[in-house]
């Protein structure tokens, strides 16, 4: 077991190394430069002075090795446009993204599993059809567009909820205030994540219900709904867990856009700002953090797998 975890972590490390190299060289291919140097009003001498300060007049390979050397010692460098350590920026933004992401994941999982059970219990009857129609919409509607629509509706027209931000600036910390800000972006994100979970839950439940021991339970006269919940559900957890790993990657991608729509000061917005402003160390930092997160989540999911399903052993 320990050997398995170590092996997986080592693999993850290699993956991260590759991500860093690919990202570094790609982003340096981009035309332009850090916006602190390359802006419309700066003259050539101003530009050259700033590029030199950041060592950007050196060859790309030298800069990558330099970055790698620092990263190995835990130093992710300093943001070129913001003048703050990258690690600090990531720390500040990761909290907001986690808050949004975990809430959306929780909503999507609870909603998805409940709807999935509902659909399986009423297979091919109207609740099943309603659920599948909802899922189909969730897969088809662009999340950012839904975001714009709910802002127009709930924030602008009805004035019930704030249009953007993580919390009310300058106000005392308050859970209610946080939740009000969280409501729209988390719901929109959850709505786009849910269909996968619904689908997997439903088909897993149906598959298990066809298995022998469930049939036996039926034959013994246990009520069908009770069978579904008691016997089937635990076994259906495995595929649901599997999809959670996948959903996490989707979650990161989705949050990039949703954070832009709702002005959510998270990693997604940081990534876009950094890409637009050619803030090389920040882009690397965000991509690496996201990659590391995915690696870890996948590992945890695989371990949970083994815990839930005794047939799976990692050696």
């Amino acid at each position: 077991m320990t050997a398995y975890i170590v092996r997986r972590l080592l693999q993850g490390f290699v993956v991260l190394l590759m991500i860093s190299a690919v990202t570094f060289f790609l982003i340096n291919l981009a035309p332009g430069g850090p916006s602190s140097a390359v802006n419309f009003t700066s003259t050539a001498s101003e530009r050259e002075a700033v590029l030199k300060q950041y060592g950007l007049d050196r060859p790309v390979v030298v800069r990558y090795l330099d970055w790698l050397g620092h990263a190995a010692r835990g130093d992710l460098g300093t943001s070129i446009n913001q003048g703050l350590p990258v690690a600090k920026l990531l720390g500040q933004r990761a909290g907001a993204t986690l808050e949004l992401g975990l809430t959306a994941l929780l909503l999507a999982t609870v909603g998805g599993v409940v709807l999935g059970i509902l659909a399986a219990a009423f297979r091919n009857r109207w609740p099943d059809h309603v659920v599948s129609a909802l899922s189909a919409l969730g897969m088809a509607i662009p999340g950012f567009w839904l975001g714009i629509v709910v802002i127009i509706l709930f924030a602008v027209r009805l004035g019930w909820l704030p249009t953007s931000g993580v919390f009310s600036v300058g106000a005392q910390f308050s859970i209610v205030d946080r939740l009000r800000h969280l409501a729209l972006p988390a719901s929109v994100l959850a709505f786009t994540l849910m269909p996968n979970i619904v689908r997997v839950t439903r088909s897993a439940l149906l598959e298990v219900s066809r298995s022998d021991y469930v049939r036996t339970a039926h034959a013994k006269g246990v009520r069908p709904r009770a069978v579904l919940l008691k016997h089937t559900f635990k076994n259906a957890l495995v595929p649901v867990l599997a999809i959670l790993g996948l959903v996490t990657t989707v979650l990161f991608s989705g949050s990039v856009v949703i954070e832009s729509v709702f002005g959510w000061a998270g990693l997604g917005r940081l990534a876009i700002e950094a890409a637009n402003g050619r803030d090389y160390p920040v882009i690397l930092g965000v991509t690496l953090l996201a990659g590391a997160f995915v690696v870890v989540v996948n590992l945890v999911v695989d371990l949970l797998y083994a815990a839930v399903d005794p047939r799976i052993r990692h050696g």
């Binding site: 981009a30 035309p31 332009g32 430069g33 850090p34 916006s35 602190s36 140097a37 390359v38 802006n39 419309f40 009003t41 700066s42 003259t43 050539a44 001498s45 101003e46 530009r47 050259e48 002075a49 700033v50 030199k52 300060q53 070129i80 446009n81 913001q82 003048g83 703050l84 350590p85 920026l89 500040q92 933004r93 907001a96 802002i151 924030a155 602008v156 004035g159 704030p162 249009t163 953007s164 931000g165 993580v166 919390f167 009310s168 600036v169 300058g170 832009s260 729509v261 002005g263 000061a265 917005r269 940081l270 700002e273 637009n276 402003g277 050619r278």
Partner: protein, 534 residues
């Protein structure tokens, strides 16, 4: 007022002193009350609280204007330089230096005294230090160095005459504290200063800076002027223009500057909001690359401007919020602006005539051609404001007279790389926002071609000489005369095709009081006068 330039300053100062007197009496009334209320503004990204740090631009300018006093600021009546940290100034008779007398008794927000050393440090060690690449530093290139005459007097020693220095000193030119920054390896990159708590002389200082969210300001008890009447000023980070307006409508933001007039539709009739049209010295232009021999013929430049219906673009893209430009000096510079210059009213037939004179005649497919080569122009544009839309309209107007325009929309940073850094374009549409000074050297001089702000790379020894003459003027009458000749010259020769002066639209919550209305940068130089109506 001790030199030959005395009369000029006296005449300009009189109305301003009157204005100050009125402001003074108002503040006397309010003085008894303790500061109260909160004003909330928006900024589109994390600010950097040092006006000279490269990259501290639009998101930082207004906050820094409140925090950092300058030697001069704009008068709220006519935008001429008015006292701020300097109380008076005069040019030497030979125009090769300026003396600035500093305000006495000014303290930094950490309690240390302000003085000539701070001014000398800000210029000698920061702005004029080429290795730092400070924002906008190239406009100070005529300054050689700053001498400390005594603790409250500095002398700007010049390399060449620089009559408009006091104007530039009022334009986002905050003075930095020498005692805090002089030991830093790079005074522009001190994170504890730029991103947390800068030491300032302005009416407000930073109380809290939460990156990615907001900056909160509180009154600076050491401020040299009357104490501010507002208790808290908050700058929220809201990047999206729609969201900014939504918050303005919801009352959670007090002021938004609208750059896209179409957005006004939702706020124009709101009873709590006031829409204010203001002027700044901003002019939009089309640059025709002078490295392209087709555009060195002045008739071609005149024809291409005549072919654009600028009025129609103002009416549609700007929703009427703008006026047709005649040159680089906007009408708000009343003393200098000259309206009687060639103006190139929309006339496609005349444009075709001019092009025919220059040898461009319709080819078989309707596209103009000369020596068998079609008049095809590549026109890169960047995603910023309404540049793309305006470019598409110009494309359409030029197409109508037989010019084939290939528009290439680029991401902003990539656009700057192509157009500004490499000058790799044939035509492009953008704008300059400049201090309200009649000095246009940075955008037109031969020295600024290729490497500076002279984007079209236009080189004219005649215009260079005129601009140098304007900088050497020691009285306003002489300066006005030269500046009018300059305006005639550029309107005739069109180094840039002048498009329009946009109105700056500020939407203000009516509860905000005491805010100068002439324009936003100036209003923020007088933040101590603001109050919140009960």
């Amino acid at each position: 007022m001790r030199t030959k330039s005395g009369p000029r300053w006296k005449s300009l100062m009189l109305p301003m002193l009157a204005a100050l007197a009125i402001a003074g009496s108002l503040s006397a009334q309010a003085q008894a009350t303790t500061p109260s209320g909160t004003l909330t503004f928006v900024t589109n990204a994390d600010p950097t609280l040092n006006p000279w740090t490269p990259g501290a631009v639009i998101e930082s300018n207004l906050i820094n204007t409140i925090l950092f006093d300058q030697l001069t600021r704009y008068s709220t009546t006519d935008l001429t330089p008015a006292p701020d940290l300097a109380t008076s100034w005069e040019a030497a008779p030979d125009a090769m230096s300026w003396i600035f007398h500093l305000r006495s008794g000014v303290k930094w927000s950490d309690g240390q005294p302000f003085g000539a050393d701070d001014v000398a440090f800000t210029f000698n060690k920061v702005i004029l230090n080429k290795d730092l690449g400070a924002n906008n530093s190239s406009v100070f290139s005529p300054v050689d160095h700053v001498e400390v005459v005594d603790p409250l007097t500095v002398r700007f020693v010049l390399k060449s005459p620089f009559s408009s220095l006091p104007y530039y000193l009022a334009y986002f030119a905050g003075i930095l504290p020498a005692h805090v920054l002089q030991d830093a390896p790079n005074p522009l990159q001190v994170a504890s200063f730029n991103k947390s708590n800068p030491v300032v002389t302005g009416p407000f200082k930073v109380a809290e800076f939460v990156t990615g969210s907001y900056v909160r300001l509180e009154p600076n008890p050491d401020y040299w002027g009357p104490q501010p009447k507002v208790k808290t000023i908050v700058f929220k980070e809201v990047s999206d223009a729609n969201t900014q307006l939504a918050q303005l409508l919801a009352g959670s933001v007090d002021m938004v500057t609208v750059t896209n007039p179409t957005l006004l539709a939702g706020v124009e009739h709101n009873p709590n909001l006031e829409v204010i049209r203001q002027s700044q010295n901003i002019w939009y232009w089309v640059a025709l690359n002078q490295g392209d021999p087709r555009f060195t013929d002045v008739r071609v430049r005149q024809a291409l401007l005549t072919a654009i219906d600028r009025k129609a673009i103002i009416d549609s893209v700007l929703k009427g919020y703008g006026t047709v430009a005649t040159g680089p000096i906007a009408p708000l510079q009343k003393a200098f602006y000259d309206a009687n210059v060639p103006s190139y009213a929309y006339d496609p037939a005349k444009a075709k005539e001019l092009l025919a004179e220059a040898g461009w005649t319709p080819g078989p497919n309707g596209i103009l051609q000369k020596d068998g080569k079609p008049l095809t122009i590549t026109m890169p544009t960047g995603q910023f404001g309404y540049l793309v839309n305006a470019t598409l309209l110009v494309q359409q107007y030029w197409k109508a007279i037989g010019v084939d325009v290939k528009v290439n929309v680029m991401e902003w940073n990539a656009y700057i790389q192509e157009v500004v850094v490499k000058r790799n374009y044939q035509a492009t549409l953008a704008w300059w926002s400049t201090p309200p000074t009649p000095d246009i050297t940075p955008y037109f001089s031969s020295a600024a071609a290729e490497r500076g702000n002279n984007i079209p790379n236009y080189k004219s020894p005649e215009l260079d000489a005129l601009m140098a003459q304007a900088r050497s003027a020691t009285n306003q009458q002489d300066e006005i005369k030269v500046v009018q000749t300059i305006q005639q010259n550029v309107a005739q020769n069109l180094p840039y095709l002048f498009l329009w002066y946009p109105d700056i639209i500020t939407v203000l919550n009516k509860r905000v009081g005491g805010m100068a209305t002439i324009n936003t940068p100036t209003a923020f130089q007088y933040a101590a006068d603001w109050y919140v109506k009960p």
